[in-house]
């Protein structure tokens, strides 16, 4: 009788352990998650194909992380978002890993006949521009302020896009006569686009930063490994191949 009781208790313990293992297994097997700026969507998977990626506007990703989204690493197109998360205690100190510049893009056939950004002063063109909150939109407005071209946002028909991929898509499809994007996004779609350089003196400093997200259950070790991979010689080589600028090695 006693031995049967002991055997039954043992069975229950074994069952509990087995259940715990079964429940724990998917979590351990699940790839860690990288939340990255839309402009990194071509380069990052080449550096490391193993993470689950979520690419979007950096400001949207910041908001999602603040609301508890299951991100392990955050890579932003501007220091503003990771710095805010760092100050809130939601991620590690941000590290700069790449730079970029802004360009104006038009469809390959350039239906509006634009010769430079100053051609937009005549008005009545269709423009694709980032929203005021997303880094590409912030940088674009900064550049236009410096060039005294802020008025083109009111004299042209402007469609506000949530991230740089939407801008490229809109211009590439001919739904916009011109748009402002990063140089690297032009490179990724150059068969559909024509590029116009913007003055060096007016370029805002485009800095990419990443940080390891702090939240219960975050895969910090994997996020740190990913960060090292991006900063490695191989990672830098890939970024350079995709047209990014590199900051000096720390």
């Amino acid at each position: 009788m006693l031995s049967r009781l002991i055997r039954a208790r043992r069975m229950r313990v074994i069952l509990l352990l087995a259940t715990a293992l079964v429940l724990a297994a998917p979590a351990a097997a699940q790839a860690f998650t990288v939340y990255g700026a839309a402009s990194l969507s071509s380069a990052f998977p080449v550096i490391d194909s193993s993470p689950t990626y979520n690419f979007a506007g950096s400001n949207q990703l910041q908001l999602q992380i603040e609301r508890g989204a299951p991100a392990d690493l955050f890579a932003s197109a501007s220091p503003a978002e990771p710095t805010a998360l760092f100050k809130e205690g939601r991620c590690s100190r941000p590290v700069t890993f790449a730079t970029n510049i802004l360009v104006m893009v038009t469809p390959t056939n350039n239906p509006a006949g634009l010769r430079s950004v100053y051609g937009l002063r005549t008005g009545s063109h269709r423009l694709a521009v980032g929203t005021a909150g997303v880094p590409i939109g912030v940088y674009t407005r900064q550049l236009l302020r410096r060039m005294q071209l802020t008025s083109i946002l009111s004299t042209n028909t402007v469609s506000l896009e949530p991230n740089v991929n939407s801008i490229i898509a809109k211009v590439g499809l001919g739904s916009a006569d011109a748009g402002f994007s990063y140089f690297t996004d032009y490179l990724a779609a150059k068969n559909r686009l024509r590029v116009f350089r913007l003055p060096t003196w007016a370029q805002p400093p485009v800095r990419y930063q990443m940080c390891v997200v702090k939240r219960p259950g975050a895969d910090t070790a994997a996020a740190n490994r990913f960060m090292q991979r991006v900063l490695s010689t191989q990672g830098r080589r890939v970024l350079k191949r995709f047209g990014f600028g590199l900051t000096p090695r720390r």
């Binding site: 302020r145 410096r146 005294q148 003055p199 060096t200 003196w201 007016a202 600028g245």
Partner: protein, 202 residues
């Protein structure tokens, strides 16, 4: 000899400054407290351009100090101007606030031969001062904010003096007057020839 005298300066640069005063840019006595610049609208463009061009000009003064052929007096003036350029950047950046231009945002990229001789060195420095004066003339006339106009007017005064001095160094007739005012589009195209985006491959 290369020092420009007061008469020469008056013939060259003061015309512009007097015009500035005449336009009502310096509304009060010189000793009155300066209004704080609060740039509005396109004013940011004049100031941003000024900050980049002043930093580039400062880099030129630093390089010029290493060139042979300048007298001790010239060197003192180069040194003093280099310091003044740094102050200009500080004042412009204070006015720009969040839009301030940081030293790492761009880098001067002068042609290799530009410092090969004293004459070539001066030619480049003169070109940079002309770009600055041309832009400040435009800004001092068209900036919306009076504090910004005053700041641009004072920067114009200093840089016009430097331009006159450089013209004197090359033996040019200082009475050549001020260069024409340039739009940011025109001035920017010239400045872009000697600056680059740091750490960027293209």
């Amino acid at each position: 000899m290369p020092e420009i005298n007061r008469g020469q300066f008056l013939r060259l640069g003061v015309a512009g400054v007097v015009g500035t005063v005449g336009a009502g840019l310096l509304a009060g006595p010189a000793s009155a407290a300066l209004p704080t610049p609060t740039p509005q609208g396109d004013d940011v463009g004049f100031l941003s351009f000024g900050a980049v061009a002043e930093q580039t000009s400062r880099a030129w003064y630093r390089r010029a100090l290493a060139v042979r052929g300048f007298t001790d007096g010239d060197r003192r003036r180069l040194q003093s101007a280099q310091a003044a350029k740094g102050e200009h950047v500080t004042r412009i950046n204070a006015a720009l606030g969040a839009d301030a231009i940081q030293p790492g945002d761009f880098a001067a990229r002068f042609p290799a031969a530009a410092f090969a001789t004293k004459d070539r060195t001066i030619a480049l420095g003169r070109r940079l001062e002309e770009i600055l004066v041309s832009t400040y003339l435009n800004g001092a006339s068209f900036a919306h904010d009076s504090g910004t106009r005053l700041l641009l007017g004072r920067l114009l005064t200093y840089d016009a003096q430097q331009l006159a001095w450089m013209r004197g160094l090359t033996g040019s007739v200082p009475a050549g007057g001020l260069p024409n005012a340039l739009s940011l589009e025109q001035a920017g195209a010239q400045l872009d020839l000697v600056i680059t985006t740091p750490n960027f491959p293209v």
